[in-house]
Structure formats: structure tokens, C-alpha cells
């Protein structure tokens, strides 16, 4: 039986090889296994453009605001497609043609439940829902929420589709270690009421986008695994972060972040391969005694 140290070394070598398959790019991996205590990071503190993975942090900030008594999931909020750029305060809109979720756009002018908007933000990655919720919470309050939970490695700077902020180099950022801390914060229930943690995990489990975590698992495992996750994709990054639930054991948290110019194929392949490597390491570590 391999020691945890051997497992980590083996995983490191495999991830290192995978990183080389992303030309002129970068790969970061973070893992924390609740069964064995196995934890591992590769490029764990390297910052990446967060893309849609930042929605998990905003999701958590929504629940933080609920815990503060600011509102409830049943409260309604005006769906207005008008936001102020973090770069210059000028208004901008989320283009329906660039949004994965059309349903929230049909509600413009009316109100939606905060719980429904949060679900759209995660499950179908609605950019409009994200900006409506971030507007409601406030950027400063979202950042305070992250700081309060000690979630270094998560940097909420702005709403999504804020092109002027993007051009000015003002972007939401994430590290693999930050993503794992965020996922653990959601799972552990230390920072949130148990019911809130369960609600967040249930919504993440409904994720409609495939990502790289689940496709990377061995086929028989895919059939029984449940992955509570969020993907993030723009022209230069492909990410997937989540909690992997396997039968008969506690979950493991995993963050897979990739960056490269050009075609996304190499990034997507690397995500799945990294997921497989992590799964095998976690499986091996789970058979060892943690020291």
C-alpha cells in the first residue's frame, strides 16, 4: 500500500506532465479529501481569471447576506439589465446572445425570487442573474463576506460581462487553493447554517454543464458519482471546481484551473485527465492511514 507521500509524489508527476500538454499555458490543481485528509495543490496560489467559477463565491455571499438577515431566498428582486462598470461607473448590459440562460432575460422588468436567481446563476450559469444578485449584495459586501470566511485566493472585482472593466484589466480572479477553501467552506457548515450548506450543495449538484471533473472519472464511477460543481469558460480559460460525492465515503473537493491562448481543446482534455489523476490519488490515499 502506498503512503500518502507516495500518492502525492505520483500525483504531482502526473499533473506536471499534464501541465506540459497545455502550450504556453498553465494548469492548477487543488484537492482536499474528507476521508483520508489527503490534500494537494499544484500551482495552488497562481491567480487565474475566474470566469464563471466566481459565481460560486457570489452564491456563498448571497447565503452570507441571508444569514445576516438582509433578505431571504423567497424575497423578490427586480430583474433589471443595467449595471455600472467597475472600471468607470458607466452603465452596461448583459447581452442575451452571450448568456447561457435565456429564462432570466424574459423576466426583465419584473421580479424574481432570490432563490430562483441564485439557482439560475449556478445551474445554467446565468450572467444576468449573477449581476442582479451581485448588485443586490454589493461588491464591497461580497468582498467582505469572502474576507470574513478567510477565503484568500478568491477575488471578486466586478460583475460578469463588464467589458470596460475587462479592457482595463479589472477581473475576477481565483486560485486553486482559494477554490478548494471556498468549496470546503460551503461543505463544512462552519460558516453557514447546515440547511444553507445543504441547499448550496443541492444547487451545485444540479449543474447543467459537463465540465471536466465528471468526464475524467472512470466510467463505472461516473455512473455512481455525484458532482456538485461549477464550470468557468472564456476564450482563454477552462475551469471546473466542485465536490465529488462517491457512494460510501465523504466527498473530496477539487479545483481544476487551466489557461492558454487559442483553442480550448487542450485545456478541456487536461481538465478531464487531471480529474482522473486526482480521483486515482484520492482513491489510493483513502486506503492509507493519514499521518
Amino acid at each position: 500500500m502506498a503512503s500518502v507521500g507516495d500518492v502525492a509524489t505520483l500525483l504531482h508527476d502526473r499533473i506536471d506532465d499534464l501541465a506540459r500538454t497545455i502550450p504556453d499555458g498553465a494548469l492548477a490543481v487543488g484537492v482536499a479529501d474528507y476521508l483520508s485528509g489527503f490534500a494537494y495543490a499544484y500551482n495552488g496560489d497562481r491567480w487565474f481569471h475566474a470566469a464563471s467559477t466566481i459565481k460560486v463565491a457570489i452564491f456563498a455571499a448571497v447565503f452570507d447576506a441571508i444569514a445576516d438577515g438582509r433578505f431571504t431566498l423567497d424575497n423578490r428582486v427586480h430583474v433589471r439589465n443595467r449595471f455600472l462598470s467597475a472600471a468607470d461607473g458607466q452603465p452596461f448590459r448583459v447581452q442575451a446572445s452571450r448568456d447561457a440562460d435565456a429564462e432570466v432575460h424574459t423576466a426583465i422588468g419584473r421580479t424574481m425570487r432570490i432563490g430562483d436567481l441564485a439557482r439560475h446563476m449556478i445551474v445554467t450559469s446565468s450572467n444576468l442573474a449573477t449581476n442582479v444578485l451581485l448588485d443586490l449584495i454589493g461588491r464591497a459586501r461580497a468582498r467582505q463576506s469572502i474576507e470574513r470566511h478567510g477565503l484568500s485566493g478568491i477575488d471578486v472585482q466586478r460583475g460578469v460581462e463588464d467589458d470596460r472593466a475587462f479592457d482595463a484589466g479589472c477581473n475576477n480572479r481565483i486560485t486553486a487553493n482559494g477554490a478548494v477553501r471556498l468549496l470546503r467552506s460551503i461543505h463544512d457548515g462552519r460558516d453557514f447554517a447546515p440547511a444553507a450548506s445543504q441547499t448550496m450543495i443541492d444547487v451545485l449538484l444540479e449543474q447543467q454543464f459537463g465540465g471536466g471533473i465528471l468526464p475524467g472519472l472512470p466510467e463505472p464511477v461516473q455512473a455512481v458519482a455525484r458532482v456538485a460543481h461549477k464550470t468557468g469558460d472564456i476564450s482563454t480559460v477552462s475551469h471546473d471546481i466542485g465536490l465529488v460525492f462517491l457512494p460510501g465515503r465523504p466527498p473530496y473537493a477539487i479545483a481544476l484551473l487551466t489557461e492558454s491562448a487559442g483553442d480550448a481543446t487542450a485545456r478541456i482534455v487536461a481538465l478531464a485527465a487531471a480529474s482522473r489523476a486526482v480521483y486515482e490519488a484520492v482513491a489510493a490515499a483513502g486506503e492509507t492511514t493519514w499521518k
Binding site: 433578505f71 424575497n75 423578490r76 452603465p91 422588468g109 443586490l136
Partner: protein, 211 residues
């Protein structure tokens, strides 16, 4: 204290007689300074709306129901989201103005959430916004058209100005005093003194007569 029953069938109340939490949120008859340095007085008389069902069942004109002016979100003061709710009586004048527009276009005219009456305590409101008087409407859709482009906003703005020469309609734009995702139409700082109520400015005279 109920002072009258309006043609709508709704009780009309003097805001100054409401419980303290409501007075704090509604600021009835409070004088406020507008951004251009003018003094305006917030509404004092309100329709009392017992429930959302009552709002749904209360027409103000042929095409506008009271509920359309009461749709607010979580940014509204919690006291103002709980029933009974209180809406300044001038909302009927706003509905009448919008009815003229509705009849001319022959299409449904949709008021946005938070785009009808907002109390002075609404977190998305300036206290001096005409929305605090229930005489402003943010129209986000007419028929099937979303009012989110310059040509649509300016087209309907021109129409509204022709039909409602007493109204202010914001031009298209992204700066202060403009709008780019709705038509903002308001009647200024109109207040309504219902039958059975005293004009607050004349109450001092009454006191004088009594002496």
C-alpha cells in the same frame, strides 16, 4: 384614522395618524429639499390597501390596476412591503395619464418592478424622486417592444410629450436625468387632497379662527 372612502372603494387615511413605523417609512407631509434646491412636501394622504388580492382587484382606470403601481422588490422598506400597504392618492392621477398613452398606442403598457410607487425609504430611491409621490412610472415594455433602445425610447417619448404636455419624460441617455432601459414619465410633485381632508397649509388658519 380613515377619513374617506375613495371611488376605488379603498379607505383613505391621513399618514400623520399612522403608527410610528409607518410614519417613519412614509414621512407623510415631510418637507424635503430637491437636488435643485426646491422644497417639496411628501404626500400626506394614502389609499390603504388591505392585501395583494385587494390590489389586484382594484382598477384605477380601464387598463391599469392598482397592483401595477405597487410591485416593489426587497429594496423596499419591510414595513412598506407588509400589509396593509399605503399608496399616495395621486397614483390615480398617474394611472389616468398612462391611460391616455395606453389608449393612443392600443397596446399594453407595462410598468417595471420598483417603477411605480416607491416609498421614501426604498433603498433604490432618492427621497425626492417623484416615485415617492406615486406620480412616476418606469415603462419597460409597450406591446411586444422592450424600451431599451434610443429609437424606441425617443419615439414613445415624443408621443408621451404630445399626449401629456404636463408630464416630464426623461430623454434617452446614460447620464443623470436620462434613461436607456425604460421610459420614465412623471407628473412632478403632485399631491392629492381627498374630500373630507384638510389642506395642511390651511389648518393653521383654522386654528386662528378657533382662537
Amino acid at each position: 384614522m380613515e377619513i374617506a372612502v375613495a371611488g376605488t372603494g379603498l379607505p383613505i387615511v391621513d399618514g400623520l395618524s399612522l403608527p410610528a413605523p409607518h410614519r417613519d417609512a412614509l414621512k407623510p407631509a415631510e418637507r424635503v429639499l430637491t437636488p435643485d434646491g426646491r422644497v417639496c412636501e411628501l404626500p400626506r394622504y394614502f389609499y390603504e390597501v388591505e392585501s395583494w388580492t385587494v390590489a389586484l382587484d382594484t382598477p384605477l382606470t380601464a387598463h391599469f390596476g392598482l397592483w401595477e403601481f405597487m410591485d416593489v422588490d426587497v429594496r423596499e422598506d419591510p414595513v412598506m412591503r407588509a400589509y396593509p400597504r399605503y399608496i399616495p392618492c395621486a397614483v390615480a392621477a398617474l394611472a389616468t395619464a398612462l391611460e391616455l398613452l395606453r389608449l393612443d398606442v392600443g397596446l399594453p403598457v407595462r410598468i417595471a418592478a420598483n417603477g411605480g410607487y416607491r416609498s421614501p425609504s426604498h433603498r433604490g430611491n432618492r427621497v425626492t424622486s417623484p416615485h415617492s409621490w406615486a406620480v412616476a412610472a418606469n415603462i419597460y415594455r409597450i406591446g411586444a417592444e422592450s424600451l431599451d433602445s434610443e429609437d424606441r425610447i425617443e419615439r414613445y417619448r415624443a408621443l408621451a410629450r404630445r399626449l401629456l404636455p404636463f408630464a416630464w419624460v426623461r430623454p434617452y441617455g446614460t447620464g443623470v436625468g436620462t434613461a436607456n432601459d425604460h421610459i420614465h414619465l412623471d407628473l412632478g410633485y403632485l399631491t392629492v387632497l381627498p374630500r373630507g381632508a384638510s389642506d395642511p397649509d390651511h389648518e393653521a388658519l383654522l386654528d386662528g379662527d378657533a382662537r
